[in-house]
Symmetry: C2
Subunit: 190 residues, 2 copies
């Protein structure tokens, strides 16, 4: 699947505002690739497709997750906001024939992060967080941190996310804390 | 071991200020037992002994944890502040002959919490957090929540703890997030 086909596929799945967000994530991810010497092809494809499942009903997303062998059922226990990420990965595999594991992982973990993220996963995670349309408290700290390193950008994004979720009384997917703890240890190394 | 012996044992291990804290934790835990209909014996013994290892050198605490079969080595990967809890449990077993699992668990998890805490564990965890000598942002919210239910008190304490740790750039022991997520689900049920 080339980029043009991918854009056409997600355009059918998304409302206009969400599609515009997707375009900005792709642009931001491309800039991060240039800055950090990462080849763009997989990053751009994952970025185009990252919100593919955003408007599926939560019942369908849960069903997709539970019937997809390579996804943990535990995704269904932490609120609805994170379902579209793993469900989206399963659906782009099933409906669009995307089988590249690096792309699939980048989609699965684009909302939560995880310990052991690849560079591709980090770029998609961060681009989704800092694209210029995002406006929320602390976002400029994450943008500044992203200028220093991918790891530091992800660390500050993860910190903000956990603090926000707790302030709202929302659950925290454990992989988010595992990612935070891991990046805290490697801070300053990249 | 009776209470008098336990107090004498910890007095030798602790500086005066920490011993005074321990006495306040025992008093607070006793009140929580009365409020929530929990028998006091094990709660008071766990409270007396909860900081037993507080002043052991971190190298000794890590060694104790790594050589204690029923403690995960993973305790050693999240900073020094939490070591005294699992190490203390191992040491009161080894040095004082405490073998009651409910008491040992209450000491192990008094700093981090965990999913599946017993009532005894919740009371010791909460008493350590809210005893009247504690002064930090948000403490009155935890005290108020503790009047509503043990679960709600623990939930607000866990929330505060995670937010504080992240604001300081400290690691978060995963059991703390597991406890938070679990109590969020049961909120309002007790």
């Amino acid at each position: 699947m080339n980029e043009k086909q991918a854009f056409e596929s997600v355009k059918k799945q998304l409302k206009q505002a969400r599609y515009d967000h997707t375009v900005r994530v792709v642009e931001t991810a491309t800039k991060l690739c240039e800055r950090y010497g990462q080849s763009v092809e997989k990053v751009r494809l994952a970025s185009i497709l990252h919100d593919y499942a955003k408007y599926r009903p939560s019942g369908e997303m849960k069903n997709v997750i539970k019937t997809t062998e390579w996804l943990s059922d535990d995704w269904c226990n932490y609120g609805e906001a994170i379902l579209h990420a793993p469900a989206g990965a399963a659906l782009i595999r099933e409906e669009l024939g995307i089988t590249d594991e690096e792309i699939l992982h980048a989609v699965v973990f684009h909302t939560t992060g995880r310990a052991g993220m690849s560079e591709i996963e980090k770029i998609v995670y961060l681009a989704d967080y800092i694209e210029p349309g995002r406006k929320f408290p602390g976002i400029d700290d994450v943008r500044d941190a992203s200028e220093q390193s991918l790891d530091y950008g992800c660390l500050i994004a993860l910190s903000n996310t956990v603090t926000f979720l707790i302030s709202k009384g929302h659950p925290v997917y454990p992989d988010t804390i595992h990612a935070y703890n891991e990046l805290l240890k490697t801070r300053g190394l990249k």
